[in-house]
Amino acid sequence: MAKHALRATGVTQKFGSFTALRNVSFELEEGEVHCLAGENGCGKSTLIKVINGVNIPEPGAQISFHHDPAAARVFPHDAKRHGVHVIWQDLALFPDLSVAENICFDRFVAQPFGGRNQAASRQMAEEVIARIGIRLDPDARLGDLSIAKRQLVAICRVLAANARIIFMDEPTASLTRKETQALLDIVRKLSSEGISIVFVSHRLAEVLDVCSRVTVLKDGSLVGTYPTKGMTQKRLSELMTGMELSEQQRQPKTFTDTVLELRNLSRPGEYEDISFSLHKGEILGITGLMGSGRTELALSLFGMTRPAGGEIVLEGKPVRFASNHEAIDAGIAYVSEDRLNLGLDQTQSIVKNTAATVLDDLAEPTFWLSPSRVRALCDHWIDQLKTKVSNPELPVNSLSGGNQQRIVLAKWLATNPKVLILDAPTVGVDVGAKAGIFRIARDLAEQGMAIILITDEASEVHAHADRVLILREGRIREELSPHDIEEEALEGLINA
């Protein structure tokens, strides 16, 4: 019944001796929302680039749009003619231009000598904004908008360019739950207008929610295309990784050795009256929506901001951190939310990144930083965390996302912390790497480390925490054990 918008078969792409895509087929119907799933490096981006005409596949591919005869490759102007657009994760917008100008930017590119014509841009922008039924000020400066709003601007921009097939790369990675729902509603709306959407996301719940079919790639090969009806997150993860992923809940245990205790900690406008204690070997889940104060609380524990009232007691002694340097010395490690940018110096070597937190210690008792000591430290952690590294002297951006994640962890574990704070450790990380991170966290807890796990994914705290605190508007609203509650109920409490 449905007509196809795109049909590609036999797509192979080689880069030198590396095969990025091996005989992959992909089909998209008109008005379909289709998920392209797979772990990082499985060939999703390469396939997108073949379809929008950036990459030229090996001979033998058959790609056709709508009723056109199949061709062995896509020319950029063909992709344009058929309305193929990609919204990359970084959105590729212009922060210093207005919303309307971002939406109409392609007009300026097509006609450099044409007028700027603000009235026309504004009208065009308003029409598109009205079409998807959102509220956006066309005159606002893009740089002043939230990520969620920018995402909407990016969608408006491709619609203004008459998009028929839209690829969305991780559109929800940095959105809150509410914003995600709003975005998914727009996706459904576009689909009802006959626009085909290919959705790339690591958040499997929303994939199953919004998409009708899912195509899974693994290591450059097609695993298969499946209807999402009847598909579970677990099954999809297994298809993507090829592994059985078991998410056993932690065994209920009682912990006795208190490491960290918070007494009525407050910082006006951020969090209020927070009290809890954290024990040796315990994984404490702190959850809540974005803006609930969870990250702000962590930043105070890490000495980046100073609480206005209350007390932090570390191993029985009250502490006040004047800077994060003091917090690190006291044994607190914080793996930040945006760790790939804030946590690593991407162009520096793996060795140097691992040693970054402990340079002074490594140089003791002199100022001489012995390369062999640094290297030994790095090798130790690579081994401990089972990181896949061919050569530690290579820049850290030569690693996959999951392995970069391990290097960030290694860097903080090297400080020998008593308390490890993991802030949203799985944002933008694929399923296989996610499982790896939690395995490491559990091992560390087993060895006696106290861990605070901050996340807004109910499933993560439910499976991996011993105790869960739910924050709302800066206050602790619930404290519960994940063993006493179903995941869905927990999710409901977070969103309440």
Partner: protein
């Protein structure tokens, strides 16, 4: 209206107005037509430089070679004109503009083709241009300049009690360049491309903008401005001194940044750049008329730049300062 006042242009306009009122009362010569016309004649050169530089800065680059490039243009143009028997102002502007564009394109070539950071390229060309000029001219000034250049072309003359107040060609050249730059930057698709490229080069590339063309335009346009400004400067001082413009680039850069242009690209306006130059000129003129020693000028101008730029960041800095005070 409040939005206008909070913008750098609004703040500068207010400061300029306040300064004008102050100087009108404090000195008797400030508010004379002669003084104002003199100011305009003298500052036209700086304003032409500034509107050229603002294009490069918005496109995310920087250029410090333009003022010595202007010296090269002066020299080359005057030598060529003398060989052609003097020529006229149109030929002069054409030659100066063409030489200026050529020098600007040298910068663009290195920046785009060889992917070198603009500040490094222009430090290099700054030295090459100036070095070549000093070497070939042996540091000698040219006093033999074409008659039209020496006699000055008058565009407006108002008789006064003593002598007359006169506007010369540089003012007209300045008005044309300001209008043209403003039109391109704020009224055309190309202008949006330049802002877009400065704002997010990667996104611009992916939108299908020709980066080579944007770079060539930005540095070429600054070259054009520098060429015209160079010739106009010779027109005002009636001689060509090889190192007359040496060091001017930093004054212009400070004035343009004062006008709200951001190093790093994407933000800035022609109006802001013009107002920045005007403010600094008024301060200098005021100090002069008030009889303050010229040795203090640089220091005072420097302090004003620092204060003004700090103040224009106040909306971002103040909340943080207050916050940290609360914490302490």
């Amino acid at each position: 209206m409040p939005k206008m006042l909070a913008s750098p242009e609004g703040v500068l306009s207010a400061l300029i107005l306040a300064l004008c009122i102050l100087l009108s009362f404090a000195t008797d010569s400030f508010l004379s037509l002669q003084n104002l016309f003199d100011l305009l004649n003298n500052q036209s050169v700086n304003i032409i430089f500034a509107v050229g530089l603002v294009v490069v800065l918005i496109a995310g680059g920087i250029d410090i070679s333009f003022s010595v490039a202007a010296s090269v243009v002066q020299y080359v143009t005057v030598v060529l004109l003398m060989q052609l028997g003097g020529g006229n102002w149109a030929l002069g502007l054409l030659l100066a503009g063409a030489t200026g564009i050529a020098l600007g394109l040298v910068n663009a070539l290195f920046i785009h083709r060889f992917r070198i950071v603009s500040i490094i390229v222009t430090i290099g060309t700054f030295n090459v241009f100036f070095g070549l000029l000093m070497y070939l001219s042996r540091g000698r000034s040219l006093y033999g300049i074409p008659d039209w250049l020496y006699d000055r072309i008058t565009i407006l003359s108002i008789p006064m009690e003593r002598g007359s107040a006169t506007l010369y060609l540089p003012v007209l050249a300045m008005l044309v360049m300001v209008a043209a730059t403003w039109f391109i930057l704020s009224k055309t698709g190309l202008g949006r491309q330049i802002y877009g490229f400065g704002s997010n080069p990667d996104a611009a590339r992916r939108s299908g903008i020709s980066i080579a063309w944007i770079q060539a335009f930005a540095y070429g346009w600054l070259g054009l401005c520098a060429g015209i400004a160079g010739l106009m400067q010779a027109h005002i001082v009636r001689e060509v001194v090889p190192n007359a413009l040496y060091g001017r680039e930093l004054d212009i850069l400070a004035a343009v940044v004062l006008g709200g242009t951001v190093l790093g690209g994407g933000r800035g306006t022609v109006l802001g750049a013009v107002l920045g130059v005007v403010l600094l000129a008024l301060i200098q003129n005021g100090l002069n008329l008030l009889g303050i020693t010229p040795f203090a000028f640089k220091m005072i101008v420097g302090a004003v730049i620092l204060i003004a730029i700090t103040a224009s960041n106040a909306d971002r800095l103040l909340p943080e300062v207050l916050k940290s005070r609360k914490e302490a």
